[in-house]
């Protein structure tokens, strides 16, 4: 209950502030050309990137999974690799190599290259799971391969494709670092600018309200689109892969295309990092500061991961073991955070704590609370998957053997859900270690993390000085990528038919 309430603080703040501002002033703050321009920027970029990542993600997934493209396994690894490069590091790489990369075109290219794996990965997983017999039936009925793909395969990819594209949209609405470096203002960057000029001005909150509406719109769209169709099947289907398409003369041009994507998405940031580490004039290796930022990042991320996962347990427990409208409402309320960018959570917590509980203001505890709000959904989803698979009958057996409820939880349930707790904590750890906006606003005095140090150097155009932090940020993100890849394949193969 307390967990759910905490998760709702930012939303309550935005809503109550909107009420306090009043309709007249709110209209005055929103009905101005700047808001229209921001709305246009935000919506066009989100739409363009969602479309582009969808096309790119599906095309690459089909190429890797369904054709005789040479070196498919290698390509798969390389195509997922951009997930390990935070978008703001990618933005830095492009801007620092070529100043002309900016505005809509620059933002579009960099964001698409950073986020297409969010579509690619689930589509690949879905393609692997499809029953080839369905397609074979279509062929036997005289459909061409192209037509079969359009009428049989594509509809089955729909949930993965939509889910991935909407995730891209939500990431993009919350993106601050990359878009700020690329000089393409959206609501998130504009809120940060207002915060920088007024700290807690009503203009910033009015914009936050619009941003939250956009995020909620995407979230609801996803729920709706996902909810009304079923793609389940009985039985595991044919336990063999689909017949690969023979590329023939297209083979090498397509290899060249995939190579181009990898070079742009992975090669450019890698080259930029190596270059700035090697030749940047402001490159220095302040080992003490790097170590301190790394240690702070790890301490914050470990604490945040533990707190978030522990907070997820009672929420999931209620939702799974005591099903009912109240427990579902509590669980769902934590999902709202999916629609709250770090900037809104940061703004909300700064103002609410200053007004209501000044003692926790500017403490590490508050920052950890912000992380918990932001990343609780990730922990809830993972832990829930684990608890669903822990049969309650084992609890009953323990009870019948005279074991008390606490001891049962410790000796029976905990060992069963431990792997999912671990996976949830790992996901949260990795999300926290690259978090930028909430950390910038809430970190205690004198605290510097890898992300904030990287930001302070790269926004002052000290590209060389930013490089070691960028490298550490990438290294910290690598395990997340591997974990996500594993999880994706496990969740597909591990589901009993």
């Amino acid at each position: 209950m307390a967990v759910a309430l905490l998760a709702l603080v930012p939303l309550a703040y935005v809503a109550s502030y909107v009420v306090i501002i009043g309709p007249v002033d709110l209209w005055h703050l929103l009905a101005r050309p700047r808001i229209a321009a921001l709305l246009r920027n935000t919506v066009t970029l989100a739409a363009a990137c969602m479309a582009a990542t969808a096309v790119l993600g599906v095309a690459l997934a089909v190429l890797v999974e369904r054709t005789d493209l040479p070196g498919r396994r290698l390509w798969h690894g390389l195509l997922v690799a951009p997930l390990a490069v935070p978008a703001f590091v990618n933005g830095y790489a492009w801007v620092s190599l070529d100043r002309s990369v900016h505005g809509f075109a620059g933002a579009f290219v960099v964001v698409t290259l950073s986020y297409y794996p969010l579509v690619y990965l689930p589509v690949v997983a879905m393609l692997r799971r499809l029953d080839p017999a369905l397609e074979e039936s279509a062929w036997s009925l005289g459909h061409s391969r192209a037509r079969t793909f359009r009428t049989v395969v594509l509809p089955q990819l729909r949930p993965a494709l939509l889910g991935g594209a909407l995730l891209v949209g939500l990431h993009l609405l919350a993106e601050f670092g990359a878009l700020s470096l690329l000089r393409f203002p959206t609501f998130t960057t504009a809120i940060y600018d207002q915060y920088g000029s007024t700290f807690n001005g009503s203009a910033a909150t009015a914009m936050a309200a619009v941003l939250v509406m956009l995020c909620l719109f995407l979230l609801l769209a996803e729920l709706r689109l996902r909810g009304d169709r079923r793609y389940a099947r009985v039985g595991r289907g044919a336990a063999r892969g689909a017949v690969p398409v023979v590329l023939g003369p297209w083979r090498w041009p397509l290899v060249a295309t995939v190579t181009a994507v990898v070079v742009l998405a992975v090669g450019v940031p890698a080259y930029a990092l190596v270059r700035w580490l090697a030749v940047g004039t402001s490159t220095e290796f302040p080992l003490a500061e790097l170590g301190e930022a790394l240690a702070t990042t790890i301490v914050l991320a470990v604490t945040g991961a533990v707190v978030t996962t522990v907070a997820a347990v009672p929420v999931v427990w209620l939702a799974v073991r005591y099903r009912g409208p109240a427990s579902t409402a509590i669980e769902r309320s934590t999902y709202v955070a999916n629609a709250l960018p770090g900037i809104v959570v940061g703004l909300a917590l700064v103002v609410t704590t200053l007004r209501l509980v000044p003692v926790v203001y500017q403490t590490a505890a508050l920052l950890v609370a912000a992380y918990a709000i932001l990343f609780l959904p990730r922990a809830v989803v993972t832990v829930r998957a684990g608890l669903e698979q822990a049969p309650t009958v084992l609890d009953d057996v323990a009870h019948s053997l005279g074991v008390g409820p606490l001891a049962t939880a410790r000796r029976v349930t905990l060992p069963l859900i431990a792997p999912s707790l671990g996976a949830g904590a790992a996901l949260v750890f990795l999300a926290i270690s690259t978090e930028l906006t909430a950390t910038l606003m809430l970190s205690p005095i004198g605290t510097s993390t890898l992300a904030t140090e990287f930001w302070s150097a790269s926004s002052e155009l000290r590209y060389g000085a930013a490089a070691p932090y960028a490298l550490l940020l990438v290294l910290v993100s690598v395990p997340a990528t591997v974990l996500l890849m594993r999880q994706e394949s496990l969740s597909r193969e591990g589901v009993p038919a």
């Binding site: 101005r32 920088g196 000029s197 700290f199 301490v299 590490a364 155009l461």
Partner: protein
């Protein structure tokens, strides 16, 4: 079963070890422990990182910096009120000092702290003091422009002939301070018209370094910024300043506005003595000379300190007369929000 007793004895000690370890790491990272002096710093972090260790060495005090932007931190201090952890507030520009001053949150500075600074850079009530100054300039690309092509006044950049040719950073406290000077000198109507013209003409970038880069690369013909960005680049390696030059407006034009970096002590501070020691040190000759010799190239306000002669001399700037305590930050933010620049 045999492992159970061992586990139960191990666990508390492991937990204890983990706690101790975490606590020591936390204090090592500055997450715990209380410093002798907390500075809310909106001046360039790089400059403070250079001079604060000198003060720490001299005084033996442990100083903690929290860095941010002028108006963000000023509004933050006002919002924090009596509970503010800040002991000293340093800004890049004076409008942020006025916000805190108008909220009555500054303590009066000791006479030693204000004595070395000429009186026009200290408000009458001695609630804060200037410690550095920066001159507004226009930069221009030397391949597409000559000094003669530059306008006589900063206000001329709002003219249609400058459409798409002038870069500036409206989110920066520096530009906002320049606007506050225009507001003070020309009045609200003229300022509004000027901002609307700039909004129509300007190429908006995220900070003054990008203004300089945009001018130097020829992306725009001119840019509005402060003097030191260009001089710093010149001193370093000149890569972003070799195809550009500075245009000083002079002649008491708003474009020759001299912006004052301020230092003040919060009345709510529990470290008054340490705070007074720091501000007195900051305006004293040693610190002023150290800042003058640093990478910063801002003008020291203590007349005993001498700046690198490569920088245009302080007494040749011909700035307009502006009362340091009268610049209005909030009204500027409102006007800029209205003009669609924020």
């Amino acid at each position: 079963m045999t492992t159970r007793p061992r586990r139960s004895t191990l666990r508390p000690s492991a937990a204890l070890a983990a706690t101790v370890l975490t606590a020591s790491t936390l204090s090592g990272c500055g997450l715990l422990g209380s410093p002798d002096l907390v500075i809310y710093n909106a001046q360039h972090e790089e400059l403070l990182d250079e001079i604060v260790p000198l003060f720490e060495e001299e005084s033996g005090l442990d100083v903690e910096l929290r860095s941010g932007k002028d108006l963000e931190m000023a509004n933050q201090i006002v919002e924090e009120g009596e509970d503010s952890p800040a002991d000293v507030f340093l800004t890049e520009n004076s409008p942020a000092m006025s916000i805190v001053d108008n909220a009555g949150l500054f303590a009066e500075l000791p006479a030693d702290a204000t004595a070395p600074i000429p009186e026009q850079y200290v408000p009458a009530e001695h609630t804060w003091t200037g410690f550095l100054a920066r001159s507004t300039v226009a930069m221009y690309n030397t391949e597409s422009m000559t000094e003669a092509d530059m306008p006589a006044s900063l206000l001329d950049f709002a003219d249609p002939e400058w459409e798409g040719r002038v870069a500036f950073s409206p989110t920066g406290a520096d530009f906002q301070a320049i606007v506050s000077a225009v507001l003070e000198l020309e009045g609200e109507e003229a300022t509004r018209a000027w901002l609307e013209g700039l909004e129509a003409n300007g190429v908006i970038v995220q900070n003054n370094l990008v203004v300089m880069q945009s001018v130097d690369s020829g992306e725009v013909d001119a840019g509005i910024a402060y003097h030191y960005y260009w001089y710093r680049d010149r001193e370093e390696n000149g890569t972003d300043s070799d195809s550009s030059a500075l245009h000083f407006f002079g002649d008491q034009d708003p474009g020759a506005f001299l912006s004052i970096s301020g230092a003040g002590i919060l009345a709510s501070s529990e470290h008054q003595e340490a705070a007074e020691e720091f501000v007195t040190w900051l305006t004293g000759t040693d610190a002023q000379q150290a800042m003058a010799e640093s990478y910063a190239l801002e003008y020291p306000l203590n007349p005993d300190a001498t700046l690198n002669p490569a920088v245009k001399p302080f007494d040749e700037l011909e700035p307009p007369e502006v009362d340091v305590s009268s610049l209005n930050g909030p009204q500027v933010t409102d006007l800029m929000t209205e003009a669609g620049l924020l």
